[in-house]
C-alpha cells in the first residue's frame, strides 16, 4: 500500500488545478484591462488638455539678437519652459526659423546641417526640411513642431507654436 505523503495534506490542491483559470475569472480580468485602458486614455486626454492650455498662455521670450547669429548657423534656446530645447536657424539674411529640437521619433536632439539645409537626427538618421520642419527621410513619423518667431527691432522673440 502506498502511503499518502504528509505534505499533500498541507497542499491539497494540485499544481494543475492551482493554475486553472475559469472563464469567469478570465472575463473579470478582461474588465480590469478595460478599466486600465480607459484610465490610460483618460490620462492622455487630461495631459493633452493641460498641454494645450499651457501652450495657449506661454509667455513670449527673447531668444537672440539678430546680429548674434550668422547666416547658416543655428542656436539652441529653451521655449516655452526651461528644459524644452528649441533650435533657431538663420536660413538667409532675413529669414529665421525655429523648431522644437526633440526628434519626433524617439526624442533625440536634432542638429542643423548647413551644407544640406536639413535638420539631422543622428540617433536613427532622421532628416527634416529646415524650411518647414517636414520629414524628409528616416523613421520620424511627424514634422518637428514649429516655433513662431517675431522680430522686434534687432531682437528675435519666440511667441508660441504653430499648429
Amino acid at each position: 500500500m502506498v502511503e499518502r505523503k504528509a505534505w499533500k495534506d498541507d497542499f491539497p490542491i494540485s499544481w494543475v488545478d492551482d493554475h486553472f483559470v475559469t472563464r469567469r475569472e478570465f472575463t473579470k480580468s478582461l474588465v480590469l484591462v478595460s478599466c486600465a485602458t480607459f484610465c490610460a486614455t483618460g490620462v492622455i486626454a487630461v495631459m493633452g488638455r493641460a498641454g494645450a492650455a499651457a501652450a495657449a498662455k506661454c509667455e513670449p521670450r527673447r531668444i537672440a539678437a539678430v546680429g548674434e547669429i550668422r547666416v547658416g548657423s543655428s542656436r539652441v534656446f529653451e521655449f516655452p519652459a526651461p528644459g524644452d530645447p528649441c533650435l533657431l536657424i538663420r536660413l538667409t539674411e532675413e529669414r529665421f526659423v525655429a523648431f522644437g529640437q526633440r526628434c519626433t521619433h524617439l526624442g533625440c536632439p536634432v542638429l542643423y546641417r548647413k551644407e544640406t539645409r536639413k535638420l539631422h537626427c543622428p540617433c536613427h538618421e532622421g532628416y527634416f526640411n529646415a524650411e518647414d520642419g517636414s520629414v524628409v527621410a528616416g523613421p520620424p513619423p511627424r514634422p518637428l513642431p514649429r516655433v513662431e518667431i517675431e522680430r522686434r527691432g534687432d531682437e528675435l522673440w519666440a511667441t508660441g507654436f504653430r499648429a
Binding site: R23, R24, F26, T27, K28, L30, V31, V33, S34, C35, T37, F38, A40, T41, G42, I44, A45, M47, G48, R49, G51, A52, T104, R142, P145, F161, A163
Partner: protein
C-alpha cells in the same frame, strides 16, 4: 456556458476597440493636434461601462452553489 462565452468574447472585442482608441489618442497627443483626445476618452468610457454592465449581468446570472 454559451452566455459566458458570449460575454467573454464581447468584452474581449471591447478591450480591443479600447486598445485601438488608446493608440489613436496617443498618436493624436504626440502629434500635437489634440483634436480627438476627448472623443477617444469618451468612447473608451462607453466601452468600459458596457464591459461592467456585461460582467454585472454575468454575475447576476450565476447559479447559486451547492
Amino acid at each position: 456556458m454559451t452566455i459566458v462565452y458570449a460575454v467573454m468574447v464581447s468584452i474581449l472585442i471591447l478591450v480591443l476597440i479600447q486598445y485601438l482608441l488608446l493608440m489613436i489618442a496617443l498618436e493624436d497627443y504626440l502629434s500635437g493636434k489634440r483634436s480627438v483626445l476627448i472623443g477617444t476618452a469618451a468612447a473608451s468610457a462607453v466601452c468600459f461601462a458596457v464591459s461592467c454592465r456585461l460582467i454585472g449581468y454575468l454575475a447576476a446570472r450565476r447559479a447559486p452553489g451547492p
